[in-house]
Symmetry: C2
């Protein structure tokens, strides 16, 4: 088994944190995104979508998409459960993970991809107006999340889950786009401090 990893990009980090929470260690290979190595013929043969992460399992099959990789490990090693247990619990965690993706991680990433000079070559065409349209969405969602976190410790409820991983990675990635969690959002800040203090956050 081998994980194709990609440094500081948010999606590879989601998988690394997930594996750290599970206590799973596997061999990795770094794909150098700065040098567009994900577009090389060799890597395109591994993941035709030219994205990291990707996981090659022992029979050679490749699983791409961060959450697909996480779910694979969740099935192989259910403890600790990061996608929930039982129909309702699992559905609510899926809901919160998707909200954290659609309304936080993707908007944060869009601001970076469509404004940052370093992304000029990778994102063609950059649409700065799209980046600007996403900035208020980031803060709207954080505001909503702050209200939710008033009454519970983690994004999806009483336990740390994959939804916390997605939200943590998104919040940390705000920095490269010069955005920050407003001081007034005390519940988001308390949550961010707590999830950042876990050893997995260093992954």
């Amino acid at each position: 088994m081998k994980l194709y990893d990609g440094g500081r990009a948010p999606n590879p980090r989601r998988v690394r944190i997930f594996l750290a929470e599970k206590g799973i260690k596997i061999p990795t290979e770094q794909i150098d995104l700065g040098r567009l190595q994900q577009r090389s013929d060799a890597y395109t043969a591994i993941n035709p979508m030219q994205r990291v992460p990707a996981l090659a399992v022992d029979d050679g099959t490749v699983i791409a998409e961060s959450i697909a990789i996480c779910r694979y490990f969740e099935t192989l090693q259910p403890d600790p459960p990061l996608f929930g247990r039982g129909a309702l619990d699992s559905a609510l965690i899926e809901m919160w993970n998707r909200r954290a993706e659609l309304h936080l991680l993707f908007p944060v990433a869009s601001v970076f991809q469509h404004l940052h000079p370093a992304m000029k070559e990778m994102v063609n065409p950059q649409v700065p107006a799209w980046a600007e349209a996403n900035k208020p969405r980031v803060f709207e969602f954080l505001n909503f999340l702050d209200g939710e976190l008033r009454s519970r410790p983690y994004v999806a409820g009483g336990e740390y889950t994959v939804a916390d991983i997605t939200a943590l990675v998104a919040v940390d990635f705000m920095r490269v786009s010069k955005m920050a969690v407003p001081e007034s959002l005390s519940h988001v800040r308390r949550w961010h401090e707590a999830v950042s203090a876990r050893p997995s956050a260093a992954a």
Copy 2:
């Protein structure tokens, strides 16, 4: 249990097709998106994200996000399996469902949302340049999918899955943005004919 449904929009249709494939019938309530009913106080109390579909279960808990709702029903009624069985099979179906979302459904929806005059009030601001940037992405993915479908009947493999539902809904939604599957993509067209012929496609 009650499903908050939303007419011809792609996400509510994903859930309706999923339920039809499972043979599950539940009470529904239509939310009138044309009249922005999803932004009413009453509906915002049900889903603060102001989106359809949403499922209220018997204890009053609300599950939002199409795929979270589908997964809930998959756990309640595993047959026929639409998210796969076993770690690898399920991961590959998750991967293909996400590819169909990220590289087909979302780009198709972005073209509609950011160009169509009917969306002016709902999408603020519309960013026409973002719509234009998404058009080639739709055709690139369909081209890639055509190559994949050369050697298998369905999007994720030998069986019909949730990934086919996402891709079908996306392809059908191309029409409102005046896009069509090119004649040359014979494998996509054969697949589209096959999945459209299933009774569930009428949902």
